[in-house]
Structures are given as structure tokens and as C-alpha cells.
Amino acid sequence: MAREQEITKVFVEVADSLIDDFDLIDFLQQLSERCVELLDVAACGVLLADEHDVLQVLAASDEDTRLLELFALQHDQGPCVDCYRSGLPRTSINLEDPNAQQAWPQFAPAARQSGFVSTNAIPMRLRRKVIGALGLFQTSGRPLSDADATLAQALADVATIAILQQRTLAHSETERSQLQYALTSRIVLEQVKGILAERWQVTTDEAFVAFRAYARAHHHQLSHLARLIADGAFDTEQIPRPPQHR
């Protein structure tokens, strides 16, 4: 698909999210996947600040637990934290640069071990306030082009709009309440990955793939279905089990 068509598709999806009852985590995950398709990056994550001003992972282009952990490492160090605090984008940071290794002694080597060569952080802004950051990893040393940087900022803005306009709450009062709902949903999803992995005797990543396939096929919102499962209000036997390894 041509780049222009790809971009158009993203904005159609955004428009849909405004009309339909949509699932935030699922939407942000798809948006992260789109970032990887549209920009010259290998992985993308959406990070949102919690009440302690600590960045939490809401979604990533790949739900692989290792990638999630890499984003989680950025809660107290890394370009996303710097970007969140300064409100300014940080692009084309070479992870092999001794300065990067020194500035982020845990994050930089972990990112390198995962095969990433450079990284970028784009602020998610709500008016003058920064609420989080988009983290973009590259496996090549090519700097992010100006066009890509501009588009990345547009996608970060779209993520912000999506978080703030979700109507999953029957009566949403405030932006902060929306942000908290999103963060809670993310944790429920992780708890449910564990529940399903143990019931099915598979890895948490495999459990998530089967869970998401079922939710999408049956038009369930991921967060809503996850809450039902965590509360024991949904019979998980209905979900086709992934193959076991043990």
C-alpha cells in the first residue's frame, strides 16, 4: 500500500474510534503497529504518566513481554522520560553512543540486547501539558527523517485524543479519570494474560494472542472482556485454546 493510503487508513481508523464504541488498548496497539508500518522504525510503544508522574506502558506494537519490559525500564530513565519531562521530542538517539550508555545505564544496554540501534521519543501533549510519550525503536542507524518526525508527532497527538475521548466510562468527568481508566485497563489485561496462560498451560504471550483473536472475532472490547475474565464473569472455555507445549 502506498504511504499516502496507509496514512489515510490511520485517520479513517481514528474517525471510526470517535463514532464507534471502541477499545482503547486495542486501538493504541493498532496505532503502534501503524507507526511501525508508516515510519522507519522497528517497534513502538505508547507510554502514559500515572499519578506519581511515572511512565507506564499502555500499548506496544508487539505484546511480547520482553518488549513491554524494555518500555517499562523507561519509567525512570531513557529518552521517553527525558521527553516527558522536557515536553520536547528526542530523535535519532544512537544507543551505542557512550553518552547514551552513561546517561541510561540500564535502559541503553537492554535496548541494545533486544537488537535496537537507535531510539526516538515523541511527546504526547494535551494543550500545554505533557501526558506521556511515544517511544520508537530502530534497528538501523538511519536518522528519522523530518517527514517521519512530523508524522510521528501527528500519531502521538492521535493517541492522546484517543485516550481522552474514550467513552468506556458511562459518565466521564475528567481527563484524569480517563487516564486512570486506561492505566487500570492495562493492568487488568496483564493479570488476565497470567490467568489464561495458567489455565491453558501456555506462555503469557501465547495466551494474549489467543485472547485477542477471540475478542476481535467476537467484537468484544479487549479491556471489557479482560475485566469480565478477571472477575470470573466469563467462561474462558469459550475461547479456543492455543496449542500446549508442555
Binding site: V54, E69, E173, T184, Q191, G194
Partner: protein
């Protein structure tokens, strides 16, 4: 960023031994938040909840009504895991909480703000603050209240371990950033057939007794290198820890 006042409240909370002796801390928290009343109710399994903190009669009555009816900003905050801020109760559409209005109209409560205490699907309780006058909380007050709710959550979920020798568990708020801790919680809840809150307690107890970080223990559980037995130990070693039967 939390205020100096709330930082002091959290310090007092750390020193305190339990919810019972906390009346002074609660009053101080209410003062710091600039509200007329503050309550903390803890979930005690199923739909039941127990009032643990109460600084003011009207606030306590309001909370009682919410708990009895099972509707209102408090139950909604508990259900969604997101704060519910009502700066003017008179402006709430009647159909939102149909029964609440009639039961609370006589109380001297004009604004209510509810902050959930919990971790994902684990619901510990609700922190509720009320005012006799209408008007929103400031951003700073909302932030302070969220941090207090978080600290109370940690206390409620860590109190079993803390009871052993009076110290709080070694894991910090940061450990809850790690997806793997929540995944391990889900796995242990299935393995031991206990609620998620119990599963997290077992994980914390194990981390505490083995002197290892909660994230390490969680990684081992998720990788199936470690399996807790019904006493919260791995493979029957060590001493069993007392764990509350409460949800």
C-alpha cells in the same frame, strides 16, 4: 508532584501500625486535601465493604448509603478503577444514581470525590472525600488524593507481610510497573485457586521471606521456574506465612 502536606501524611501513615489508630492521620489527610470529610472503605469480599476511616459524620453517612445501595460515585470508582469527581451533586442527572439522591439529600454534602484503591482487577476499596460546598478539587488536590489512595492500597495489600516484624514489604510502587508482576499474579491465582488479591499477597510474602525482589520472583513464576504451594512457599521450604482469608 505531591504537596508537602501530603508527603507528611504519607510519612505518618508509614509510622502508624494499623487502620484503627489512624484517626489522626485521616483528619490530617482531610485537612491537606482541603475537604470537610474523608472516608476509606475496604472491600471485604464479594460486594461487601467495611468503613475503615471516617473523619466526619456526614461523610460517614454518605459512605454508608453508597455501600448499602451499591450505587453512587464510590461503587462506580471501585467498579471502573477510575476516579469519579462530582464537584456539584445537584448537577448530577437523576438517572445516573436513581436511589442515591433521595437517601443523601438530607446530608450536608454538596461535592463528592472518589478515588479507587486497587491494582487492575484487584479492588481494595475506595477513598472518598466530601465537601459541604460545591466546587472542584484543584489539580494538586486530585494528585494528592490519588497518591494517598495508592499508599492505602499498598498498605491494605501488604499488611499481612508487614505484620511479621512490623516492617513494610521491600517492593516499591515501581515494581507494579512491570507487566510480569501482574501476569504472575494471574497465574498464581489460578494455581492456588485464590482471588487475585490473595495471589499478589502470596507473591509478596514469598519475595519478602526469600529476600528477593518481587519482579524476580514474578519472572520465575511466569517462566514456570517457581511454583508457590498452598502455604505461599516454593516446594514446601521455609515457614508458612499467615495470610488473611479476606478478599
Amino acid at each position: 508532584m505531591i504537596s508537602d502536606g501530603m508527603a507528611e501524611v504519607l510519612r505518618l501513615l508509614q509510622l502508624d501500625v494499623g487502620f484503627d489508630a489512624a484517626a489522626e492521620v485521616a483528619a490530617r489527610a482531610a485537612e491537606t486535601l482541603g475537604v470537610d470529610g474523608l472516608t476509606v472503605s475496604l472491600a471485604t469480599g464479594g460486594d461487601r465493604a467495611e468503613l475503615m476511616w471516617c473523619t466526619d459524620q456526614a461523610a460517614g453517612r454518605f459512605e454508608d448509603v453508597q455501600l448499602t445501595l451499591g450505587e453512587g460515585p464510590g461503587p462506580e470508582a471501585a467498579r471502573t478503577g477510575a476516579m469519579v469527581l462530582v464537584p456539584d451533586l445537584a448537577q448530577v442527572r437523576p438517572e445516573r444514581w436513581p436511589a442515591l439522591n433521595g437517601e443523601t439529600s438530607g446530608l450536608d454534602v454538596r461535592a463528592v470525590f472518589c478515588f479507587p484503591m486497587g491494582i487492575g482487577a484487584i479492588r481494595v476499596g475506595v477513598l472518598t472525600v466530601v465537601r459541604r460546598t460545591v466546587g472542584p478539587l484543584t489539580d494538586g488536590q486530585v494528585g494528592d488524593a490519588q497518591v494517598l489512595a495508592h499508599a492505602l492500597t499498598g498498605r491494605a495489600l501488604g499488611s499481612v507481610v508487614a505484620g511479621l516484624d512490623g516492617t513494610v514489604p521491600a517492593d516499591s510502587a515501581d515494581t507494579l510497573l512491570h507487566a510480569v508482576v501482574h501476569q504472575a499474579t494471574g497465574m498464581v491465582s489460578v494455581q492456588l485457586d485464590v482471588p487475585l488479591s490473595q495471589a499478589l499477597l502470596r507473591l509478596r510474602a514469598h519475595a519478602y521471606s526469600s529476600g528477593r525482589p518481587l519482579t524476580d520472583i514474578s519472572r520465575d513464576v511466569v517462566a514456570r521456574r517457581l511454583r508457590l504451594d498452598h502455604n505461599g512457599n516454593d516446594n514446601g521450604n521455609g515457614n508458612p506465612l499467615p495470610v488473611s482469608d479476606k478478599d
